[in-house]
Symmetry: C2
Subunit: 173 residues, 2 copies
Amino acid sequence: MSRTKARAALLRELEEAMRRSSAQGVLYGQTVANVAGIANSDLECMDILYLEGRVTAGRLAEVTGLTTGAITGVVDRLEKAGLVRRERDEKDRRKVFISVVPETAMKIGQLYVPMQQAMEKVFGAYSDEELRLLLRFATEGYKGVLAATEALKGLLDTPPEKRPDLKLKKLRR
Amino acid sequence: MSRTKARAALLRELEEAMRRSSAQGVLYGQTVANVAGIANSDLECMDILYLEGRVTAGRLAEVTGLTTGAITGVVDRLEKAGLVRRERDEKDRRKVFISVVPETAMKIGQLYVPMQQAMEKVFGAYSDEELRLLLRFATEGYKGVLAATEALKGLLDTPPEKRPDLKLKKLRR
DNA sequence: GCTAAATCTCTTAGTGACTAAGATATATAT
DNA sequence: ATATATATCTTAGTCACTAAGAGATTTAGC
């Protein structure tokens, strides 16, 4: 097999492996939401709050791709569950900051323990240098996926009749 | 900083980077479903069909975690859109095999092009050997996540009063 | 072979999270 | 001041989901 062919095969394998593991990651998240008894989007928002800290409702809508109306519902449910708190911005009283309630949110965090343990075990097999390679990849991969998402969204904004036609026999009503 | 402390920091960074990129991956998928005009679960099933080939409705339910009733709806919609075909198993006539219609499904595949291009660009910066490391990691990572999911599900099956209590103030309803 | 139990998909009724559109409240610009 | 913009919430309606069970077929026990 030629060198470039071997590489192409490697890339295909890699792509599939990543697809599989990311699909399984989605399933893990679904299971967490299930066990916690909250909706999927609710958990996603908890995750964003964990990563970004105190953010506005609008920012949550932006990042999740949900409407602001949907976010109102998400925050209502999370607030009722005692997982987050609403705080009006004193500088700009239109804004509502959402922040996690650490004591309660911790309990959700517990559900990630099996995942963390599994990852610890996997990571254990790698040297520091190898881990740095993985970190570099994850960081660049994130940027790549972000850019790809933007590119795809751009496609959404071009008028439907000018898009690379899908001709899907009128999906959805 | 001690060596083990440096490694711990590295692991934390790595975990967060993976979390971010996988979250972004989820968003990419949502966008694909959006542009294609199909539901999220519908796309997830297309993905499974692509990876596993011809599978039964029951298997789809198993893998996605949806009820068989929900799968009936998914397959109805996908079939109407011309993306998949139902075929009764001639050996066991209770079973229904679902398989993609390649010509139509290709059009969905197109929506992954931006992602593939982004990944190609990222992968381009790595040597064959480095890619093999990434492949090894993705493969082992998949197994780890799968095991973690099972562990978490096991938790779901233990009677609620015996679970590490979440005490989430009666979520839902 | 025949009946009972098991297995697989589909149907039905009901529910919860979503969107679109617009209401409300506050901030900014002219 | 008034108009426009921004940020969140409200409302009505829709869609995909679950739970439960029906229908069709296969498997097991006798």
